[in-house]
Subunit: 456 residues, 2 copies
Amino acid sequence: MTVVSSGPVADLVAELGDAAVIDSDTMIAYTRDQALLCPSGRPLAVVRARTVDHVVATLKTAHRHGIPVVTRGAGTGLAGGANAIDGCIVLSTEKLDRILAVDEQSRTATVEAGVINGDLATAVAARGLWYVPDPGSRAISTIGGNLATDAGGACCAKYGVTGDHVARIKAVLADGRIIHTGAVTRKNVAGLNLTRLLVGSEGALAVIVEATVRLRRAPAHTATVVAAFSDTVQAVDAVLAIQAVADPSLVELMDRTTIAAVNDMTHMGLDETAGALLLIQCDGDAAEAEAQRSADACRAAAATELHVSTDAAEGDALMQARRVALTALERRGSTLLDDLAVPVPRLPHMLDAIARIADRHRLLIGTFGHAADGNLHPTIVFDAADPDAADRAHRAFDEMVTRCLALGGSITGEHGVGGLKRRYLEPMIGSVERSLMRGIKAAFDPTGILNPGRAI
Amino acid sequence: MTVVSSGPVADLVAELGDAAVIDSDTMIAYTRDQALLCPSGRPLAVVRARTVDHVVATLKTAHRHGIPVVTRGAGTGLAGGANAIDGCIVLSTEKLDRILAVDEQSRTATVEAGVINGDLATAVAARGLWYVPDPGSRAISTIGGNLATDAGGACCAKYGVTGDHVARIKAVLADGRIIHTGAVTRKNVAGLNLTRLLVGSEGALAVIVEATVRLRRAPAHTATVVAAFSDTVQAVDAVLAIQAVADPSLVELMDRTTIAAVNDMTHMGLDETAGALLLIQCDGDAAEAEAQRSADACRAAAATELHVSTDAAEGDALMQARRVALTALERRGSTLLDDLAVPVPRLPHMLDAIARIADRHRLLIGTFGHAADGNLHPTIVFDAADPDAADRAHRAFDEMVTRCLALGGSITGEHGVGGLKRRYLEPMIGSVERSLMRGIKAAFDPTGILNPGRAI
């Protein structure tokens, strides 16, 4: 037990009681997210806020003492955006976990930042409603974290990303003042769009404590197509052909390396002779017709195997193969997971570049991702205990991002900049644009205490 | 012909040649938008930019001399956001009118700011693609203006507003530097969302000169429902019931006053005994089934008349009744057009308040709008030559906005703040939030020359 009698930590303990954690053993669990290779520091204290007042008190204290604050939800981030900085306060919103209201007629839900995405989805599903955003982490990640990273997922091609489903945000500024952004109405053009500015700002502008999100009617039907191709070029041809005839809710891709890893783990018996597998889902009144047209498009693109299912449970089981892709690859070694996005027609160039980079650096790279969005997660598998392998892995990572930029892509489709992608930000967005972002940060957080060095 | 030998006007003429207009007769056409009751000033000069270089030169000159710049597209705005300020430069982007590229595979188009929305829609329709945003002005308004106001339209309930369809923006800062925001990829979380910040900023942050917008596959089918109700409460009941069983692309409402005005003008023979009319369109593979379910919902909500059509031409003709609503009301006198948005379940309260306000001030108010979004355009018709009537009209306008705020609504759903809604902005968004917006403006435009007093 650490005893502290004065200074910022004493202030936190005095104001927050047991919401302030200064015990090292407990703090260790709050020092990093899931970007395991990103550096993290040692926090001064961890605050597990249970109320908005706790957040306000934390920020006022941090502001007064000029201490950096790293906000985190469930810590499932993949870019190091929630990793502690030496001497910071880690502010966890995970215990702000109340669903405050569900309005069936307006189809909105108001939730605290720490509500788990999947818990919200389950709660509204009981009323025939659907919270759409489906990041891979949805079972364990929070709405606040999803907003802070503008989390993507599988069904973005049809339904958009997290930011497309938020109406209002309540947040606390660096100095402890509370703001409300947006409007509950579907249309609102009053003033600048602060809501979309907070979304994806990785805790660098304000601390999101509450949000009103939009819900949809749950689709009546879904239909699933699984298609195998001899190589990834044909699979991408199929994606483009599908998009010309249907609006699938998702089109997921797995390459040969990923297929083998998934089979090893699950014994699902996926076709290991295939160079690439597509999982396609269509939903709504015309789900079956759209799935059939999608299957026809796959056939025309030389699919070697095709399976169409209108059974929701079977569709879910098939999607499970894709969901476990990262876990399956992690069983083969340490992983360095990337998150690149290119225009869909350029996917073959990106996939080809990944294959060449893997060969050149003698690395295993399994690639899976959201083909309909051009959003790939090439995952470098290597032996972290071997310094040479680690070095090759980092070089390969660097080369993939560089190639993605040359193809007109984004350095991060859905994971965020965090610490992992910081050095690629300015090459992508430009120096004038970055200085504008710094100016915006200064307007929100003039003393620069909120997640310094992240997002921007 | 005015002759000027030194100062900002001389600089503009020297740098821009005939793109700089200083002839009073020509300038008069560029002094105001369609918000006829908003004040406008007398510009120093008008620049009709034909190239991005013209925009850069204009802004550098304005910046050097500290002269306000009011940017305008086609001048179809309805909030006075493009009205000239005394001594300003009016910068028109209407001649930046090239469609630079249409990428069928990525389903994007890159256009200059002055391209007319309808021209873009027609150009991409020839390739089976669809530019979705459909503000009422689409035949005559520009993409740049649509972006600057985040223009809405009819099909936003299903497809979102202008900002939901833009991938990248090229803009010129107040000091003449060029920026690029966003990414062409569907997913991109690299840095703060400058794209959504520029959208709706009414020319107060930067001058939009080019954009890459997203296109969709054109829907294969559409189906239209017309339903009459004895009063607006039943019509709103129907809207809620429809949204529980279908995803209509649009649900438009006209009240009794509007119906009569449209009949007078068009002799369409709409049911004048009705208290409200709904026009509903569904699109996509299941258009007919969705329209049928929507019609059933209207019947259950006591529709007095119902007509379902799967003929696209007939659907378009029916929509024409809604499109001419404002023109029809304008034939009855001067109009003061409002743009309020409330949550759909609160539409009856808003409509009731409008009726009471009309009675109290002895005014004719015709209300039409986008019922699926809760976005209403109550239109006060009065004799502008009668000072008492004008006074009552302005008081009624004020009371409607105040009531809308009390109902949790937005002071502007799709027209923007401009000059018209400026005094309601802070009551809606809050003073801390407004100071953040001012801080953001200062980061973009430190000397405050871009559309000062508008948007924020």
